[in-house]
């Protein structure tokens, strides 16, 4: 079913913190905005972080404020479970076709929390990067926006699920929903398509995917979060007691065979995660292997606080391999300048993997030039299509949100031109 063509000043693609910010800042500046997010809830990557550096505060705090701004603003139309199918034409009449996938539920005040526990079908849980499973009828996360239950599309045709769903106590489940397309005319498109963690299984000899207690930084965030699969308890997947943790910086970054660039945030992320360990396992020793510690600006204080912590040791060296040994995981690092080798044995290894722009791994409908790593090539001028935040360069949240606010300025100029 096609909806009538609707006109907006701005289309924002991607409902992570960058896209949400661009959308609401533009709307509050007087624009009409359509926000398209592929997942059932807004929040993107930061929704899966436990805390931000350097304040060690939860991302949901800022998201909550932005959600309220969105909720109360009639100028923003949010499409979740939606993706841009095609784009035709140029500003001020860019014609966009958006495909909206079914949620299989209608809004009801009833909360399925208790009943969903009886659901006989569960699915792999991408929110937790595949750790654990979730029920086929699920609430995306505690701070979900829109605040609605979803049926996992992988379970819709499962007879066991369909039979169970017949007992729906509130009449909110609607398995007959179908995909629909929406046609939009917009004056510019902000591509806030974000990033994904570099695939750590491509990293030879670092053990990810082979050794259970080798994790990545994004997975470690989930293990530290109170809404994560362990309820925030730091445990090694093998069940081994954790007394020693190693953080491996530049895992697949600053490396011509993987990501040649630096993601800029992984050092601060590991220092932050060192705090998670200190908080939960006060006796554990922490080793961080680095080439250069990159903590610009005020993050220097954040670094120094941790450098002074006797339980945190910083080792200069690039980790060459991680191996299972009798008493844990042996992390061997090579000092690239001196050639010296050093081995430290730990219980848990966290690979600080970098960011890869979404456009590096999938084709976007954007009419924009990309560099060989998938980042948008652009200047600061208004344009019909522009990348936002980590679509343009690897950035931390604070800088991403400067850029996201600035993207709304580009949208405003494009809207005023026409």
């Amino acid at each position: 079913m096609d909806e009538q063509r609707a006109a907006y000043d701005l289309l924002v693609v991607g409902g992570g913190i960058a896209g949400v910010t661009t959308a609401i800042e533009a709307a509050e500046a007087g624009l009409t905005v359509a926000l398209v997010e592929r997942e059932p809830s807004l929040g993107g990557r930061v929704a899966r972080f436990h805390h931000y550096f350097p304040k060690l505060c939860p991302p949901s705090c800022g998201l909550e404020i932005n959600y309220r701004r969105l909720r109360e603003h009639a100028n923003v139309r949010v499409f979740t479970l939606a993706s841009v199918e095609s784009i035709e034409g140029d500003s001020p009449e860019i014609e966009v076709t958006v495909c909206v996938r079914p949620r299989y539920t209608n809004p009801v005040a009833f909360d399925y929390g208790e009943w969903a526990k009886t659901c006989p079908v569960d699915c792999e849980d991408p929110f937790n990067y595949g750790i654990g499973r979730r029920k086929a009828l699920y609430y995306p996360w505690d701070n979900a926006y829109p605040p609605r239950w979803v049926v996992d599309e992988r379970a819709v045709d499962d007879p066991a699920f369909r039979e169970w769903a017949q007992g729906d106590p509130a009449g909110g489940i609607d398995l007959d929903q179908r995909e629909r397309t929406v046609s939009l005319t917009v004056k510019s498109v902000a591509w806030a398509t974000g990033w994904r963690p570099y695939d750590a299984s491509k990293l030879d000899r670092l053990g990810f995917g082979e050794l259970p207690d080798v994790l990545t930084n994004v997975i470690f965030e989930r293990l530290s979060a109170p809404d994560g699969p362990t309820g925030g308890e730091l445990t090694a997947p093998s069940g081994r007691e954790v007394n020693r943790v190693a953080f491996v910086q530049c895992a697949g970054s600053r490396d011509k065979d993987h990501l040649p660039y630096c993601s800029g945030v992984c050092c601060a992320v590991s220092l932050k995660q060192a705090s998670y360990v200190r908080e939960r396992l006060p006796e554990a020793e922490i080793h961080m292997f680095y080439i250069d510690v990159r903590t610009p600006g005020r993050l220097e204080d954040f670094l120094q606080e941790r450098e002074q912590d006797p339980r945190i040791t910083l080792h200069r060296g690039k980790v060459a391999k991680v191996e299972q040994v009798e008493d844990g995981l042996a992390v061997t690092a090579e000092n690239t300048l001196t050639g010296d080798r050093e081995t430290v044995t730990v219980d848990l290894v966290v690979l600080a993997t970098g960011m890869q722009p979404t456009a590096a791994v999938e084709k976007l409908a954007a009419r924009a030039e990309l560099d060989e790593n998938g980042f948008f090539i652009q200047d600061d001028e208004p344009a019909a299509h522009y990348g936002v935040g980590t679509a343009v360069r690897p950035l931390g949240v604070a800088e991403t949100l400067q850029d996201a606010t600035g993207a709304a300025m580009k949208a405003l100029q494009m809207a005023r031109r026409s």
Binding site: P59, A109, E300, R316, R416
Partner: protein, 761 residues
Amino acid sequence: MAETAEVKVGVYCAADNEVASAIDLEALEKVALTEMKAALYRNHPNLSSAESVEQIRRDIGEHGLSHVVILDRSARAFPGLFEFGPEVMVDLVPLRELVIWTHDANDEDTQMLAEDYLRMYVARTKNLKRPEPQELAVERRVLVIGGGVSGMRSALDIAGAGVPVTLVEKTPALGGWAAKFTRSFPTKPPYDQLQNGDMVRELAERVNGDSAIDVLLDTRVTEINGQPGEFEVKLENGGAPQQLRAGSIVQATGWRPYNPERLGELGYGKKNVVTNVQLEQMFANGSVLKADGTAPKSIAFIQCAGSRDKEHLPYCSGVCCRASLKHAMQLREMYPGINVYVLYKDIRSPAQYELFYQKAQDDPGFFFTKGEVQRVDEKDGVLAIDLDETLLDEPITVEAEMLVLATGIVPTTSVEDGVFAPGGGEENKPDTRIRDEREEGEVELELLPSGKKVAAGAEKGAKILNLTYRLGTDLPTLKYGFPDSHFICFPYETRRTGIFAAGCVRAPMDQAQAMMDANGASLKAVQALEMTAHGQTLHPRSRDLSYPDFFLQRCTQCKRCTEDCPFGALDEDEKGTPLPNLARCRRCGTCMGACPERIVNFQNFNVPMGNSMIKAVEVPEELEEKPRLIAFVCENDALPALEIAARRRMKFNPWVRIVPVRCLGSVNTVWLTNCLDAGFDGIMLLGCKHGDNYQCHFVRGSELAEYRMENVQEKLQQMQLEQERVQVSAVAIDEWASLPELFDDYYEQIEEIGPNPFKDF
């Protein structure tokens, strides 16, 4: 604000199986109609259905309802659903969250709780009305202060959005520091070639050629008065005063280099030792030569010269590593045989700049050494730099004919280090005026009522904006003199509404980042005009139309409101009576919480509202052994945390009644004494964390609440009550799991000290 004859309340209650099987709805209806005098009460099996919304709309018309109270889910659950136009006040009671999911079904205490919430919200709603928007005829012009990269980029953006700009620059030319640099870092693939410095010149040409931008050179701001939408700006242009009106302001006043005179231990003052900024000047002059006029055969760079150092600049300026790589490449071009030594702690070349660093590493003329410089000596025209080599863990000496100190960035808002620049133009000399004033102690620091100093003014006392605000002349700074604000989620969450910092004044950054930052700040400046014109406040209560009403006839000039406002919205007349500037106000209610006379109130959030909720709770007599606790809960973080805990079906202590507030700063102590008078056994205040890593988006609401509790403690003593009767706790939004325990633990404490002795009076 008083209850008027027109108040007609309609009450609607969710009545699906989940609710109807847990509480007695007939009893609820009786409370609504007989006790609370509601005009109408209806149960509905699906309140959020279109049919139900239509029913409410019909009732409003037929029964002339002025207020609608809906008992179902919290406002978070129903985005934009219950909207019945500007005449009707709608209040949502989170019945499922606060009662049904979190308490035992069909329990006497759960029923009492549900009835209490009904009473509290009906009582409250009678004190609320829709605010009339305070629209303002805004001056659609933005003042941009500073004509460097950030200021120029801002001006172009704002003009591009159709809003005229006045760009004020204190020197005779646009361009700022960047105009002095001949080359810049790569910003385009393959990210390994230096770019020429034309970008700055082109920006300046565009600014000069834009008819919507008035450029005022040689001009300083001498005074800013007024508020967003109508700032009155006084300027001084070569001794001649000038005036203009602007609706909002971008402060892009930039940076200056760290004073190298302080870096004697790194060799500054010796022959052939220069700073990175002085080296730029040499490049601009066309040649880099030693003091004897010959070309250097070797040159060393000391990174972090005066940076990442508690004795100098504790922070990292982020750009000096790249600047030195750039300089070294320029030198390698100029003198192909030259050897370049880069002595560093960490090379910081994030993002695509890594490719630029890789290019330098591939150059055989570059030598990178990681270490801490110990001393610099000069002998026979050669500089010997001793350093502790971090990697080999042994001291080494690097010799070079020239030495460059890579110094960092000091924001112009800091007067800590005077001003230093190559060439020493008049504008770059230390600003003795500021210094003298500071030494004479004329720069005011704010005091909290406790006598505690707070960094609410520009802490180093730089006077750039010259605001006539009660709380100081400039943007308040966080650490190290940068006028930043909550810098993670809301980079432009300014503490002086309508004034936004951009570029290096806000945080150290390079040109590309400064342009990005300017895009953001300029959006906020235009947005501020838009929202102010409609009477809407800015972030975080964006678009709130309510505003504080001051009943000044009863004002005692105690100055608490003017001192406590985190946004400097309130000025004072000579007697100390507040002079509100509503367009500066962010509607947090801190003034309302501060006022001992209770004369500051919002239309839809006020002291009588809180009092009515307190009085509406039925407090059982002591013999019934049903204690009552009340919790004032910040609606930004603690309240959503409670709702998350509720959705997760955690059980809450049955004795607690929740009152949501805009910010703990808005809690007036009269509420607390009224709670004690009403027989509540204990009072909790749940707000955001404060301190360096503060999470309060009204900056210091929870901190103020804590301070004000000291006064409450005195009151408790007078009433001969235990100090535990009032407790303030910090709760982050992700700490939902701890809430039930927090309530239970507090209850245990109260149980130990026993019931409130005023209960049965």
